[in-house]
């Protein structure tokens, strides 16, 4: 078992590296009439099954809920090694693996943890996030979906939008207003919702990259048991901060490693094939500029992960600054790849990995990074007001 080496970083890395080639060899091929989305789902589920044989599917979780409490450094090593061999990224499980435990472990009841966490670890239950609404995007606390108490249930009415992975999900975390008279942040509660409940309808939203990863969720008198409320009534906003904080860290780390690897590989390929673009001064300098930023991002992330702790304002600045810098870098990189005019700049090609897919696919997908998880403009407000101390507008 790879986990036998949990006490030694180098051995852990070596064991993982030795295991990976065989583990990846059974990667399912796409069937003749299988569409990309279905195949992608099959690959992700298969890979989780393989990781589970080594107890590495949800390694960061506490032992009592299906994890092995893998130390942070080893998780980072695992990410590095998986990226190195182009292992599939189980993106559909992003909310399940990160947001759910980040919410339930500090805030959930023991019963909720026992019910919902092991089914993710053992069966790969897919969750989505029902936070944003048509009228509540950047101003999330302005949400209007109502939850009205009726005996042992809450009755939900309203609409959610931009719910990532909702078309694949069976369950959703949902923020809804339980007290319309309270101050806007105070009247919100946090729910765990079974999407097969009568009165819930999910509609996919087609994106500019052709996919439909996110969708809308409509609630019409949908009844949710009181036992599925997380924390007390009115605590939803505070709980959601824990949920949202999990959108960082290793997810960024994995993305940064992928982009760096992609750029690095491009030059090796150019060297191998004698590509003509290095002779083009504009392309060459653009590449060099991107390489510098790619590594700068990695150094920045490692400092946030392993560096000395900083005060609260600096922490806020760094997190927001990384988000903006990285999403912008990602766009610039993909735009460069398209302008290189390789075949995947105009042919559809690989649409499975957000960071490693075809150039144009990755470019289009990159837009989601500019507004997702807090728009870059909101991030700049945070930097300016809470970091630099500029007055609120």
């Amino acid at each position: 078992m790879i986990l036998d080496h949990i006490d030694d970083e180098n051995r852990f890395r070596d064991a993982l590296r030795a295991w990976l080639p065989d583990a990846l060899s059974g990667r399912p091929e796409r069937g003749a009439d299988e569409d990309h989305v279905a195949h992608d789902g099959r690959v992700q589920a298969w890979w989780l099954g393989v990781l589970r044989t080594q107890k590495l599917a949800t390694p960061h979780w506490p032992k009592e809920y299906g994890g092995v409490a893998l130390p942070f450094r080893l998780r980072a090593i695992m990410t590095e090694e998986l990226v190195r061999v182009d292992a599939p990224t189980p993106m559909r499980y992003m909310i399940s693996f990160n947001h759910l435990p980040a919410t339930l472990i500090p805030w959930g009841s023991e019963e909720q943890k026992r019910k919902y966490l092991p089914e993710i670890a053992e069966e790969g239950m897919i969750w989505c996030q029902g936070f944003s609404e048509p009228g509540a995007g950047s101003d999330l606390a302005g949400l209007r979906t109502r939850a009205v108490r009726d005996g042992d249930h809450y009755v939900l009415n309203g609409q959610k939008i931009w719910s990532s992975f909702s078309v694949f999900a069976r369950r959703s975390i949902v923020l809804a207003r339980t007290d319309p008279d309270a101050q806007k942040h105070a009247g919100i509660s946090f729910f765990l919702v079974d999407l097969e409940t009568p009165g819930i309808e999910i509609r996919p939203i087609r994106q500019i990259n052709g996919g439909a990863k996110f969708g809308e969720i409509f609630f019409t008198d949908a009844r949710v048991p009181v036992a599925d409320r997380v924390g007390e009534e009115g605590m939803g906003w505070k709980i959601a901060q824990s949920t949202l904080a999990s959108e960082r860290g290793l997810l960024w780390f994995e993305a940064a490693e992928k982009l760096h690897r992609r750029l690095d590989g491009l030059l090796v390929q150019a060297a191998r094939e004698g590509a003509d673009w290095p002779a083009d001064a504009e392309m060459r300098r653009c590449y060099t500029e991107l390489r510098a930023r790619a590594h700068g991002m990695r150094l920045f992330l490692r400092e946030m992960m392993y560096g000395p702790p900083v005060d609260g304002a600096e922490e806020l600045i760094r997190t927001a600054a990384f988000k903006v810098a990285f999403s912008t870098f990602r766009m610039d990189l993909m735009s460069f790849l398209v302008r290189l005019d390789t075949p995947d700049a105009y042919q559809v090609g690989n649409t499975e990995d957000d960071y490693l897919g075809g150039a144009m696919f990755s470019y289009l997908t990159g837009y989601s990074g500019m507004f997702g998880a807090g728009t870059n403009e909101i991030m700049k407000n945070i930097i300016a007001e809470r970091g630099l101390g500029l007055p609120k507008g």
Partner: protein
Amino acid sequence: MTVQDSDLNLVADNARKVLSEAFASRDLHRHFDGDETVARRLWSLSTEMGWIAAILPERVGGLGLGVTAGARLLREFGRFAVPGELCSSAVAAMFVASAGEGGAAADGIGEALATGAIRPFVPGRTGGGSLALEGGAVSGTVAGLIGGRDGDTALVPVSGEGPMLALLRIDGRAAAFTADDIWDRTRTIGTLTCRDAEPEAILEGGGGTLRTFTRLAVAADCVGMHEMSLERTVDYARSREQFGRPIGSFQALKHRMAEMRIALEVPIRLLDHAATLCASGANDAATWVALARSQASDASIHAAEEETLLHGGVGYTWDFDCHIRLKRAMLNASLGGRTSDVRDDAFGGLMASARRVAEAEA
């Protein structure tokens, strides 16, 4: 040699504290406007504080903190836009620190730097001309050297039997220096003309290494200036009021300041990374120095431009600091080679390593 972060922080924090008192905005403007006493006072202070000595090896009377300390100090020097002799001396000191044991000539230069006995010019812009060593004496002309107003020596490449570096004493006769009339008056740039000048020291090779340290120094200077541009702009935007409120409360302006901060993150990390690679003598150090230099320079120019613009009308006046950083940042873009060439050098290094990977695969 591994230097502790705590030692580096101590050196940098001390320099920042001392400079914030001894070289405040008022002093900077007096220096900029030609008052010769300011730089001299600062030079004595630097010698007293042992800033240049901190970089140098212990065997020449230094503290042995090396290149990483040099980069941290130069960042503070950039922050306060100190007179050029401090920066060019730090470049020479980093060069000596990297030369290793057994270089008697380098050690001689190091001893002179440690005591503050010399304030050398070093190659800055890619100027015209060249110097030749013949029969033990140097002749020729070289332009684009950078240092301070009280520069007394020059550490420059000469061609003899192969490439070399010479330390030449500027005596106004055998070795004469003519300063250009430049916009960035925090520093001095000019041309050295030698007629049978006897060098005080000769070192084999070293021209490329010296240029790498010039580039590292420029990267550090840019990062420091960028930090100061941001701080000054934020201070101004918090105090200047229009429409009955601080202009920093307007989103159109505050986002630009947030962007200045975001743009600082990558250059800061690349600078540290490049300095660490230089200190350990890594093969790809020059490549990463070039990457740090080009990113930091582009970012600091933009920061100085934004500082000037966000100050509105007063940013266009001689009395505020904005124009001083703007001029210094613009000159930095041509030091150690123009930025596009520096970037091409970096690409060359990246390509060479990509070729090695491709060959190993094949």
